[in-house]
């Protein structure tokens, strides 16, 4: 039998260098195998000379193959045999019949036409993950996030904004009540219903004319924004409907998860692509996330138009508000560029007019 033949005759596997335990001393040596026994002998040793190290195929530890890097064979007593003869060591491992996982990875890595297939697979998989798997994971994460998370987040955010930037509102009581009434009508017709949103009046201070929504449904409106709208309360309500849109579509939660997911993906391959490419990917991802932000703004604009139509108010008020903003603050006349968080105002107004026509048409149909 083959195994008997092997056990009877000692077989030389490879030449290399042997180190005693914990020592840099290096002795030229050879590794031999006889049946299950592995031994290291000094190069050119005489017949009676004792072996430098002795072990069994089952007890020695062999480092896995990486390219043609020297292999380490550790013996249980702590000594080490090192050899550049990878082919010899692979033969030894084949006899032992183990280390299949390591051999498989090395097999894949060998320079071979098959690598072209791997290259294509990497490009396809990377695209698929970024385009499909990541958005799917974000949706799952948004679905499984319990409501208490956005609520605690929002409560904390509002508290710290109040402590730093915002001041109590100075709006006249009558004005405030008029806006609140309109807001209640909008909320009634939105996804979460009347109790789902809370409107908070604040003086904006450094952040100026602004309105923003926190994921819990808390909406903050600054006095400065109300001032720009003047007597046209529909303008203010259209902005609030836009913010309700952000809440209902869960834009901020989605943005947080997407940013975290992209950053994680980039970090994991950073070591392999090098720091310069990592920087480019990070900046590219930031640029792409802006496109998501513009998409979300546009979605919220659309939501505002629909909600205003449902509430029997003027859906074009949002477009009018943008005009007022441009006149009063002298901003936002530019076209959309890839560096913006919001689409350009002319584009937004054009879309709002189109949506308003559609909304009117569909309302007429249902009547």
């Amino acid at each position: 039998m083959a195994s008997d033949a092997r056990s009877s005759a000692p077989q030389r596997i490879a030449e290399g260098v042997w180190h005693p335990p914990r020592s840099s001393e290096a002795i030229k040596a050879e590794i031999w195998v006889q049946g299950e026994t592995v031994l290291v002998r000094r190069a050119g040793a005489t017949a009676g000379e004792p072996a430098l190290a002795l072990g069994f195929l089952s007890t020695i530890e062999v480092s896995s193959r990486v390219g043609n890097v020297p292999r380490r064979i550790s013996f249980s007593a702590g000594s080490l045999f090192e050899t550049p003869d990878n082919a010899g060591i692979d033969r030894l491992l084949k006899q032992r019949g183990s280390n299949r996982a390591g051999a498989f990875v090395h097999g894949l890595e060998r320079f071979h036409p098959r690598l072209i297939v791997l290259v294509v697979a990497v490009f396809l998989l990377a695209t698929a993950i970024y385009r499909f798997a990541l958005p799917a994971l974000v949706e799952v994460a948004v679905l499984v996030t319990p409501d208490v998370v956005p609520q605690t987040m929002s409560a904390g955010t509002l508290k710290s904004l109040d402590a730093t930037l915002l001041k109590p509102s100075q709006l006249p009581e009558a004005k405030r009540r008029a806006i609140e009434e309109g807001f209640a009508e909008l909320a009634e017709r939105a996804d979460r219903g009347t109790g789902g949103y809370s409107l908070n009046f604040r003086e904006g201070g450094a952040i100026g004319p602004n309105a923003f929504a926190l994921p819990s449904g808390t909406i903050i409106l600054t006095d400065e924004l109300v001032d720009i709208a003047g007597d046209d309360n529909d303008m203010v309500l259209a902005v609030l409907a836009h913010e309700i849109g952000h809440v209902d579509k869960k834009h901020s939660l989605r943005q947080i998860y997407r940013a975290a997911g992209t950053a994680g993906l980039i970090m994991l391959i950073a070591g392999d692509v090098g720091s310069a490419v990592q920087d480019v990917l990070t900046n590219g991802a930031a640029l792409l996330s802006l496109s998501y932000s513009r998409e979300a703004e546009s979605e919220a604009d659309h939501y505002s138009v629909i909600l205003m139509t449902k509430a029997g108010r003027d859906p074009l008020a949002l477009a009018r508000f943008f005009t007022a903003l441009q006149e009063k603050l002298n901003v936002g006349a530019e076209e959309t560029s890839m560096f913006d968080t919001h689409p350009g105002m002319p584009d937004r107004q054009k879309m709002i007019e189109q949506w308003a026509r559609e909304a009117k048409a569909s309302k007429a149909e249902t009547k």
């Binding site: 914990r22 290096a26 190069a43 070591g271």
Partner: protein
């Protein structure tokens, strides 16, 4: 005895890198593929294979270095880092005011993380069956990195060589190879001398950037912006600012490479192992700059596919210009054998972009 006493003869021994682009290409491609397929889990094992390839192909006096961290060790380290980062982010999201506190806590924790991370990296590196070790303390890291960094930044880079000296003294004076220690004492004057090309290039760069900015400012100011003079001025100012920042960033990037190469030469040549075997480095500054910049272009033009070629080329260049001058026999070095510890600290530094490969 048939002992290989390659260092017995004395004289300069240059290091040698035996890795090839074609060999590394397969390792690199499979690393990325398996990392994607396993949703990132394999990246820990990928790191081990990458490091084993580069360490194992770096030879000094006929024998190579080796990297001993295990994939599972790195994986657990990364899990700890991720868990900590998520916990901090969640806490910050719930109590946003923590956002002001956590950077301060990080700044205090950073020296400890660095000392531990360096120790891990050293202890998983071996040469001739003997491991390296790092004995620096957190306080030492605080002085060398935080104070040094503050001095360099507050002096607008003028005192950067001083900070470099502190950092490398911390690094080398705490580095051990088995029972032998490294020591270094680079002279500040020499570091300034080696930084001279970088300084000159940077000054020229500032002048050029300013000139470009001024040019853009005046050209843009001439353009009509809907007849609004204020608006035109504002546009021109923004355009001018961009015209200055972009060239400045490029110049800074180039000067940083020149500076690091120069400092490396000074520090390595001022370092000794076991009090008499002197380390050696003659990395040509502009040659190295050319290698880095041309690599960058090649990698981008080939959508990353030339990265293995670029990475092995840069490593070969650095290794070829490094070495050690043995003064007599190093003798038998004994390993002081301590466990490497948890990988989390080294992994944190890795994620933050610190790279302390030995």
């Amino acid at each position: 005895m048939a002992e290989t006493s390659a260092q017995g003869a004395g004289g300069l021994v240059r290091a040698e890198f035996r890795g090839t682009a074609s060999e590394y290409f397969g390792i690199w491609m499979v690393n990325i593929l398996l990392t994607i397929v396993t949703l990132g889990i394999y990246s820990a094992w990928a790191k081990v294979r990458r490091n084993r390839y580069f360490y194992g192909n770096t030879f000094v006096a006929g024998q190579s270095f080796d990297y001993h961290a295990k994939g599972m060790q790195i994986f657990i380290g990364r899990l700890i880092v991720f868990a900590a980062l998520i916990a901090i982010n969640v806490a910050t999201a719930i109590v946003p005011l923590l956002g002001f506190v956590s950077p301060i806590v990080f700044l205090i924790a950073l020296p400890w993380l660095m000392a531990r991370g360096l120790r891990f990296s050293a202890r998983v590196t071996s040469y001739r069956n003997v491991r390296f070790n790092f004995t620096g303390t957190a306080w030492g890291a605080f002085k060398a990195v935080i104070l040094g960094g503050a001095v360099a930044v507050l002096s607008l880079g003028i005192l950067a060589p001083l900070a470099s000296r502190w950092f490398y003294r911390y690094l080398f004076n705490n580095l051990r190879y088995g029972d032998r220690s490294f020591a270094t004492d680079p002279r500040v004057g020499k570091i300034y001398g080696s930084a001279l090309p970088a300084i000159i290039l940077f000054v020229i760069g500032i002048v050029i950037s300013l000139a470009i900015a001024t040019l853009i400012f005046f050209v843009t100011n001439e353009l009509p912006a809907d007849g609004n003079a204020d608006k035109a001025l504002q546009n021109a100012f923004v355009a001018g600012l961009f015209g200055m920042v972009v060239p400045l960033m490029i110049i800074y990037f180039l000067c940083a490479i020149l500076y690091r190469a120069g400092v490396r030469n000074v520090v390595m040549n001022a370092s000794v192992l076991d009090e008499r075997h002197r380390l050696f480095s003659d990395l040509p500054r502009f040659g190295y700059l050319f290698v880095v910049v041309s690599n960058l272009f090649l990698v981008f033009l080939t959508m990353g596919l030339m990265r293995p070629w670029a990475a092995t080329r840069e490593r070969r260049y650095i290794v070829r210009h490094s070495g050690i001058t043995f003064d007599g026999d190093l003798g038998t070095v004994l390993d002081s054998m301590e466990t490497s510890g948890v990988a989390a600290t080294a992994e944190y530094l890795d994620l933050e972009g610190f790279d302390f490969g030995f």
